[in-house]
């Protein structure tokens, strides 16, 4: 819904009626979207005729002047005004029916959760590369580095696709704004892509030491790339997100690690690493630990969310999250019981974790919409900061 299709309705009307007849502009005044009317003075440096400058007209026309009305005549008492506001705003319970909407749901479409998923894989793969490198498995590390760069590759295009004005993607790098997770994330994504790509390039050029250093750097960036998406959601006014502020980034890191490990593991299998290879089992362990962490953290988080947690159970996001949990649990069980089940059983949990990670991302982003539109929850939680 965030992208309107075709030209807006007023545009069609305007185009139909556009024209100048005998020097007279007859184009219908039906408005333009997305910006205030022109900010350029018709004549540079000129003043506006018909008005007195410096807001004098407003002062002249003020209706409730102290000399002629009793609008604000009573003498003020210290602290009375603040106390009145406390009386009306301070109660932890909402005393009246809520007339929503209070806040606005996000306008993001499928690109964003999908990007979160890819970013997670890239982060996880970077961690895997670091692990392989630390374990001395250079070949696997090379594969993991390539997975990382391969996963981060679609990230940029997806983010650009989601923009209302994709052609202005570069405006993201106009400034570095530390307090905006989106800005930091964009810079981090760029840095991560650069270091990751450089690491792969170094591999190809066989600059071993350089590749190693870049892998460490990529993994370090990954700690933010994998978590900032959680920070980004947690730093909004949406109750289900912001009430999960300490949990959402770790949860995202967990799924990131697991999904990155899973893709690396699958990639290793595809490139001929034997099933009994320690990297594969190590990655399997990492997947399981991460997904278990995710399950535990989610459970704790949901338990403490209270009314804000309603959004995690309702509608399509609720179903997605339930499916994700089921996939995760099944994967964990399969992994635990099916150590010798052949290739299918070996890979199935990884695929399940990947699917679960995807469902988690869509679920969480979707739950943000549900939560923002749960006027009662928004209003209630506003009274309990």
């Amino acid at each position: 819904m965030s992208h309107g299709h075709g030209p807006p309705p007023e545009q069609k009307i305007r185009e139909r009626g556009e024209g100048v007849i005998d020097g007279r502009d007859t184009t219908p005044a039906v408005g333009r979207r997305g910006e205030p009317g022109g900010w350029r003075r018709a004549v540079e440096g000129a003043r506006v005729r018909g008005f007195k400058p410096r807001f004098e007209d407003g002062r002249w026309s003020f209706l409730y002047r102290a000399d002629s009305t009793r609008y604000a005549a009573a003498p003020s008492v210290d602290g009375e005004v603040a106390a009145a506001a406390r009386r009306m705003r301070g109660d932890p319970h909402v005393p009246v029916p809520v007339k929503g909407p209070v806040i606005r749901p996000n306008v993001w479409t499928w690109e964003v959760p999908l990007y979160f998923w890819f970013g997670g894989i890239a982060t996880g793969a970077a961690f895997a590369a670091l692990g392989c490198q630390a374990a001395g498995d250079e070949r696997s590390a090379r594969v993991a580095r390539m997975v990382a760069i391969g996963a981060v590759g679609p990230g940029g295009p997806l983010l650009i696709l989601d923009l209302g004005r994709p052609e202005r993607f570069l405006h993201m790098f106009r400034i570095l704004k530390t307090r905006s997770p989106m800005s930091m994330g964009a810079w981090c994504l760029m840095a991560f892509s650069n270091t990751g790509a450089a690491a792969v390039a170094a591999d190809l050029l066989r600059w071993r030491r350089c590749a190693k250093g870049l892998t460490v750097a990529t993994a370090a960036l990954g700690t933010y790339l994998g978590s900032y998406t959680g920070v980004l959601l947690a730093s909004t006014a949406v109750p289900v997100w912001n009430r999960s502020r300490r949990f959402l980034p770790p949860i995202f890191i967990c799924t990131a690690s697991a999904s990155g490990a899973a893709v690396t593991r699958l990639a290793l299998a595809a490139t001929g690493t034997p099933s009994e290879h320690p990297t594969r089992s190590g990655l399997a362990a990492l997947e399981s630990v991460a997904m278990t962490g995710e399950l535990v953290l989610s459970a704790i988080n949901e338990h403490r969310l209270g009314i804000a947690g309603r959004a995690l159970e309702e509608g399509r996001p609720g179903r997605l999250l339930a499916a994700a949990r089921a996939l995760t649990a099944t994967g964990l069980v399969l992994r635990a019981v099916g150590r010798r089940g052949g290739a299918t059983v070996d890979h199935l949990p990884s695929v399940m974790f990947l699917a679960a990670a995807l469902a988690y991302r869509f679920g969480w982003v979707g739950a943000g919409r549900t939560s923002a539109l749960d006027h009662e929850a928004v209003a209630t939680l506003a009274r309990r900061p």
């Binding site: 309107g4 408005g31 007209d57 009145a84 909407p101 202005r168 997770p181 989106m182 730093s235 997100w241």
Partner: protein, 328 residues
């Protein structure tokens, strides 16, 4: 406590003009929606409504602020507190068919008997003349131009800035429509236009301020419910107004967004604040709010980075461990 925001982006020659804002006094609002139209006229915004306000039971068909509605007049109907008087209701209804129908004059049996509707209860509780509407409140909502502005903090491109008037505006030539400001506003103000793709909201008529003209809505407001001026002056007047209303017996009058102390402040104080006479939720306003980034970002980032480092370490540990075990 901390010092004033250091975020002001525009500095022009001469004295800094000081903070300008809106004071919207709902006790003198007549709900005419002039502000909505004056804003669209000046800012050349399109009509985006056309939905009959089903369920809102009032004249509000705008619904909420949006990317092309930068002012929105809330209509709130409040029923009078009513002592149930079933006897009176019964007597009034008695002449109808079996005491179940209102005796609409001259109809008698014309209206079909409806078993499923307890008209007695309705007459008792809801529809008696004594239970007529008590108050109909209007409130012209607008961007709050917060001191701690969520949208401003969220914007990754610098499209959102704080101006020399300490207002918050979107620079339409910069915004790339990332959409992050939308859920970051605790008041549900800023919105991304579905067709245009950019975020847009009230600018407090930044262009008019440059030339010393009142913002369009405040200028058009027939009853000066929307007042514009230097912030300190407005707050002083608004405080006086609250005291006056208290003196007149309207004890529930309070300021939403100004005159608060310490942690009671809404988003550090609102550049556009309101005088309300009912709890804020009646008008779709949160009772407490702050920039969600300032409230959550440090903690969330710390948690995220810690988790990230832990995860990276876990990866290292699990692989090193796996290899060691394999070597053994």
């Amino acid at each position: 406590m901390s010092d004033a925001p250091t975020e002001v982006a525009v500095h022009r020659s001469g004295q800094p003009p000081g903070r300008l804002g809106f004071f919207t006094d709902t006790t003198v609002c007549i709900g005419c929606k002039s502000c909505e139209v004056a804003c669209k006229q000046w800012n050349d915004l399109p009509a985006d409504g056309y939905t009959f306000g089903k369920g809102r039971r009032s004249l509000d068909h705008t619904g909420s602020l949006s990317s092309s509605s930068w002012r929105h007049v809330h209509f709130v109907e409040i029923a009078a507190p009513h002592e149930p008087d079933r006897e009176a209701a019964r007597a009034a209804l008695g002449a109808g068919a079996g005491g179940q129908l209102p005796n609409i004059p001259a109809t008698g049996a014309l209206a079909a008997v409806r078993e499923d509707v307890d008209l007695l209860a309705m007459a008792d509780g809801a529809a008696l003349p004594e239970a007529e509407i008590d108050r109909w409140l209007f409130d012209s909502d607008v961007c709050k131009h917060c001191t701690n502005a969520g949208c401003l903090d969220a914007c990754p491109t610098g499209a959102l800035i704080r101006t020399e008037f300490e207002t918050v505006i979107v620079q339409p030539d910069i915004c790339n429509g990332c959409g992050y400001c939308v859920p970051s506003c605790p008041f549900g103000v800023i919105d991304r236009d579905p067709y245009d793709g950019r975020a847009a909201k009230c600018t407090l008529c930044y262009d008019r301020l440059q030339d010393g003209l009142e913002p369009a809505c405040a200028k058009a407001c027939p009853t000066d419910s929307i007042q514009f001026g230097p912030y300190e002056e407005l707050v002083e007047r608004a405080k006086g107004r609250v005291t006056e209303l208290h003196a007149r017996g309207l004890e529930t009058a309070y300021l939403y967004g100004a005159g608060d102390e310490g942690a009671d402040q809404l988003a550090g104080g609102l550049g556009a604040f309101f005088l309300l006479t009912e709890p804020p939720e009646r008008f779709g306003l949160p009772a407490q709010a702050d920039s969600p980034i300032q409230a959550n970002m440090p903690a969330a980032t710390a948690a995220g980075l810690a988790a990230g480092v832990t995860a990276a370490a876990a990866a290292v540990v699990s692989l090193v461990f796996a290899h060691r075990r394999a070597r053994r």
